[in-house]
Symmetry: D2
Subunit: 462 residues, 4 copies
């Protein structure tokens, strides 16, 4: 058994199974570089305020940098005999520099230290995720641009609603993702707070300079209440909430890909390099990537529920329960990053199938709303216009006719307000073109939005 | 059966059980005032762009205002024969003003209309909730001020860690609540978007002026993609996430109240007007309010999971699934508002029990950290200082002594660095006073924070 | 304010807002008939063991029966001035029979009383739900029988895998539902436990005859530990778990209905009486029922999460938190019952579209596995057979050929093991027929299963 | 890139990032021994029905046994280049025995194979978990037996309710755990179903003998519908539900340990070998084990939510989404096993502190209910008795008296029904002894139950 750094009072060894059960080293090793980075800033400050000598600083700093190098080169492998990453780093430091290492933990508790590590970690990963969101947006914008003339059925209830531009549909996702990014940006404000100096919970009687540490580590703010600083996991809960919402968005996109890639729809062909086959059914080209992305929303929801449950009804300040924040958070970060990356890749190579789309739209009556609006523009009350076109649809269904085949006389037999102009609307593309509102599927609107996104994302060059 | 406004095509009546199953009128009635408000803005715009005449505007406007008055006076009771609140309002309008009502829905779909109603509702409720958060903060700040000298054990692992000021502990909650409020403020940015004009999903061929509607309704932005506008429920998911986190905070506060109100702790006495008794055990004064608040976190988590699940893997744009957003949202709003209000009331009358607190702290060794820090300040490495005080505690436990009873010689037998000054630290209050870091439990720090909050919240006058 | 039955010790009135906040009468009224039923059994027992006189029994019994009649006729409307249904019933009893009512609560606490009411309620509702499950199974079996020859694509990854009988596909749901029913039956064993006599938590010093009460109420077992009896909500958590799994099954069925009802699939036509239209797009026949059923899985998950969270980390025995079990449970019961019923109705009138199904299968290569198996039966190792048919598919894709169009020579050019017999397999129906394993889609297997279900469910006569 | 076994049709390599994203080998390696076991049974059957020769059987069998030995000795380390464990085992087999390995997958798909592996795994783990539940029960029963005379406050609302025996309190947990075990036993019925032979989804055209495979693997039943067999994850969802409920129970036990181990309660002393210290506060003996167990309920809830979400709205039959079942399931199994084991260890060494318990009960009025019952037994209506004792408590509080100090005259001044006998009830122990109902805290009842459990669990010998 490793001699515990906290065993002063204990006249009895911790049971080995308790050591295994309570250890976090198997997963918090992931925080090693953040732990070292935090320690580097901490000792600079200790020297600045005179709690360690300059000579001590030099030794500790050089030891920590050596560990940092070991981490970078993959040589730092703490092993299971340490309780957690903080102990492992300190023990390694002691191996390297000897007794001076005993001063590292001055004015610090693992309670504020782990809060710092987590915040450093998450601050970095949020930026990673936002970059990947942009990459996905960029690739979708390119597909939208390439297919900018393609009219598809706009769906509600998975039924053809009204014709829309594919680009308009894809940009809906780009908007969602942009909200995701703004949500993460807001979350970052509450991540970007420096907890060190809170000690175990009460602050410190030593003259620590918290602002200096914050400055060294690039934090905007210092935690203003030491009890809150060590008992707060809001930043993790808020991140997991944002992650869950991104999961929802990706699952919606994935669902559409699965459905549109089906033989019956055939709207898209996912590139074979992004499909997998079957060990049993050799003809299959399965959209497994989309399926897994869809499923992984469950994992993101699960992590959120995990942490909310962990935090429910915990008294202040630090409780060991809070150690259970890490795996949920790590898993969510990894899940998001891999899903965003793989989807960006999938969109890079996707191909739309205009012929299938056109075939699907033939005789789908999705021009009905445009016809109704045509009547409204001629002065017909909306409810009446809706009734008229409803009857027109019913009549066509009975006679097995498409809108596209109607003659002007037939139209007029339903309402005298129909005139030559109405004939144009019987084409799906025309319905798209005649839209007038901002944010609509009108080509001018969509092109304006597309160009704005291209400019913002640098989609031309990527 | 009520004749459906959308029944144009249908040659067959909807089954009555389907009507009941799909109807939302039993719960979306709650949106009536928002629905009317949205319609008032919509018709102003329709008149402005010439889609209805000024005479029609006047009639519709006056009819809608009559309905608004009926809502205010409680006379508007749509009953179960309407499918939803939109249909109920329009039907009532038709009763009042006749045929002109048929023009109300011009250029609008229930898809964008319900999105508008939800956003109007939530924008208002977020403000309500933020006000109630402030009220709770204000009442806690007052309790902190009243008891500003009281030293309590600062807990970690529900064990005495270090002495802290009660005010410091209470301000930790004030900080949490303030993050909650800032999170809601950020959420509001994504609620404050005007969806009308998106129509069913594609926008409109009519010359609707969306900015004008946004201006009339006080929205900062107009939704920039019509498909996104009707398929987006991010604002509700984000709100529910924030609500769940508030639920966590309230459950932590409630847990502490239950524990502190227990006979064994007796740190607080919840006023009898905020307790309930037992039908069976006459001696009980139960902290039911705190217990229910603690439990209601479950309800908030549940609503969040509900909506995340509903939205998982939904293709664009609108799907009927999304109707299931409302009850979860309404329940979360009500739960939050009632919990915040009742807790504000509870804190108004709470009494702390200094004698019990003092008794609990006697001989608790929670000064140990301060002793260790004392040694550190004298030049002892932290790890060594920790070991020394650990042995001191173990020794006292063996001899059944309190720190408070120690003589200087005893101290010195553990480390020659202990001197007269160390004796002062053996008092809990002194440990609090000697803290030096910003955000610590030092009285100067806590007073500064208390005053800042009093000023911000106007706690002096409330 | 209503004078509290437990106010003996209290020298101070409960705050009205606390009364409102803690009251459960707005929702537990639903338990009124169970509460009266439990009380009827309780007083019979009190008389049997001599704790009340026969005259008292007669009066109380007659009063309770009067309340029972009021409940049945809808006249019993307790109103918000009572704390809960137990208080409301007792108060009404006192109005009817006077002072004797004060003896009703002898040897009983609301802690064991509410546990009894909940168990009586759930026992009844589980039977209701199981009946509705059977009705849905019955209607699906009928559709399977009617379409028993119809071959459809068996999907994996929403791609055509192998041809299967529609009946086989539908029976997969019948199996799922049958597991649901068996799970509820198992749950019932843990619901069917009589808690009364546990008192507040410790049992009673009065000579109550618990077995007699259990017998009167038809319970199989008596709770064997009084503390457990009042702190246990396992039966509710287990029911909500089973409900969530049923929700999963219904959401899968609903998803398929939405997809199969899409224009692109057109495998089914949901009867118009089970569709709804659009206020904006007159041509739509939307599968709203299926969409709402799909969404309501979220609600069931939410209720489960709510109760799990409520119960997390609650110390023994009763805590007021547990009052939050009811709304979650009631909502889940209602959700399940309405979803099962509406789906049973939907299946009663559904029509499959063999022409669309056939068209979709043309050239889908879903016979590939059968071809591979044919080679295996001729002695070819499976992996080799898989490679051969994979190449065959690739070749057909390149040449834009269907399997159905292949000549024997073409087959043989891929493997000499192909002979005349292989030609038969190129038909989808033949692939179904040649299955040999139990539980497979072979018509004999499916017919055997269909007949077994028809017999079990009485589907012929319903 | 590893040449895919399913790549027949594919003229294009899968992208390496797709391979990584879709691979399950990093976690499903855990199923290796179940995979081999299933394959062994499968080939026995293939030989029995003549699909492979006896020579082939011998070779495959011997190769599989070699792999099994490699697994046991820890030499089998498939590495990340295989897609999943099934591919890895087959590839290793081919290395060992050459071409004959190509026949292993005859009549099998990974869809039914993975379902088999999961069921074999879970069947085994459920037994492990049930054994660990028994061990925990056994250790709690021993503590109950050792302290069988100890009277503690029975809590409701964390307030003293009525005195109870500690043994009675502990047996409440033993009952909960026993329900957990019975729930798992019921779950096992739905795990214990043999899916092989379902193929990809349709069954097989080869003459596979499914019953024979089931017999070899010890399954009670064969899956009766091949589509259901590959799309069903009920067994995993049901297990996770049961796991979540166990998590609730353990979190309640853990919460009590944390509270009872607090300085203020001091009811228990968790052995130092089951505590951990603080790196900062040397006096602490923290109940980290209990805290982590409490927290891990969150993880169990999270896994359940994950899988429910994954399965929501998945069309039949197999979808790649279902691969996401494994990590949630594995994590729940590990979490349960470690929590049950560590808690069993903790209870083995726990010590109760009768002195603290007695001190806490002094003057707690928890005898009030017994006094009320005394009056009831004398003929006083319950409601009246409750009022009388309520006033008695209020009077004592005012006069700062304990029940224990009351004189008979004082009692009689509140009700003439009080006589000498009532004086006995003023002792807590007497209140326990006078309980009469089955399942109550009466010593005879508790001893009967204790003995029954000791006999059932063999607690005497463990």
């Amino acid at each position: 058994m490793n001699k515990k750094l906290w065993s002063g009072r204990f006249d009895k060894a911790t049971s080995p199974e308790v050591e295994r059960f309570t250890a976090s080293i198997t997963f918090d090793t992931r925080l090693c570089k953040h732990d070292v980075r935090g320690s580097l800033a901490h000792v600079e400050m200790l020297a600045k305020v005179g709690l360690i000598s300059h000579a001590e600083l030099k030794r500790i700093r050089s030891g920590l940098k050596e560990i940092r190098d070991e981490i970078r080169s993959g040589k730092f492998k703490p092993g299971a005999r340490y309780e957690d990453i903080h102990m492992a780093v300190e023990a390694r430091l002691k191996q390297i520099i000897g007794a001076a290492a005993d001063k590292l933990h001055t004015g610090r508790s693992r309670n504020d230290q782990v809060a710092l590590d987590m915040r450093l970690f998450l601050r970095e990963e949020i930026e990673n995720i936002r970059t990947r969101i942009e990459q996905l947006q960029r690739n979708m914008v390119k597909v939208a641009w390439t297919n900018r003339k393609l009219v598809i059925p706009g769906f509600t209830h998975l039924q053809h609603g009204q014709p829309v531009l594919l680009a308009h549909h894809l940009l809906a996702y780009v908007e969602m993702l942009s909200r995701d990014s703004s949500r993460l940006e807001d979350c970052l404000k509450r991540v970007d707070i420096m907890p060190l100096g809170a000690g175990a919970l009460a602050g410190s009687g030593l003259p620590l300079d918290r602002k200096y540490v914050a400055k060294l580590l690039g934090f905007t703010r210092v935690a203003v209440n030491s009890i809150d600083a060590v008992s707060d996991r809001d930043f993790a809960m808020e991140f997991l909430s944002s992650a869950a919402i991104i999961g929802v968005h990706l699952s919606r996109m994935a669902e559409e890909l699965v459905v549109w890639h089906s033989r019956e729809f055939s709207f898209v062909e996912i590139d074979l390099s992004y499909c997998t086959g079957s060990s049993f059914m050799p003809q299959k080209a399965n959209p497994d990537v989309a399926e897994l992305v869809r499923a992984k929303s469950g994992r993101l929801f699960g992590s959120l529920v995990t942490l909310l449950t962990v935090m429910k009804a915990l008294p202040l300040a630090y409780n060991r329960d809070m150690q259970e924040d890490k795996e949920a958070l790590f898993d969510a970060v990894d899940t998001l990053e891999s899903c965003l990356t793989i989807m960006a890749g999938l969109w890079r190579k996707i191909r739309f199938q205009p012929a299938s789309v056109r075939e699907a739209m033939g005789g789908d009556f999705s021009q009905a709303t445009d016809l109704a609006e045509y009547l409204v523009a001629k002065g017909c009350p909306f409810r009446e216009a809706h009734r008229v076109t409803g009857k027109l649809v019913a009549n066509c269904l009975r006679k097995k006719k498409k809108f596209e085949d109607l003659k002007i006389e037939e139209l007029r037999s339903f309402s005298p307000l129909f005139d030559r102009g109405a004939m144009g609307i019987l084409s799906h593309a025309r319905g798209v073109e005649r839209k007038k509102t901002s944010g609509s599927t009108a080509p001018t609107e969509v092109m304006r939005s597309l160009k704005a996104w291209k400019k913002k994302l640098g989609a031309g060059n990527a």
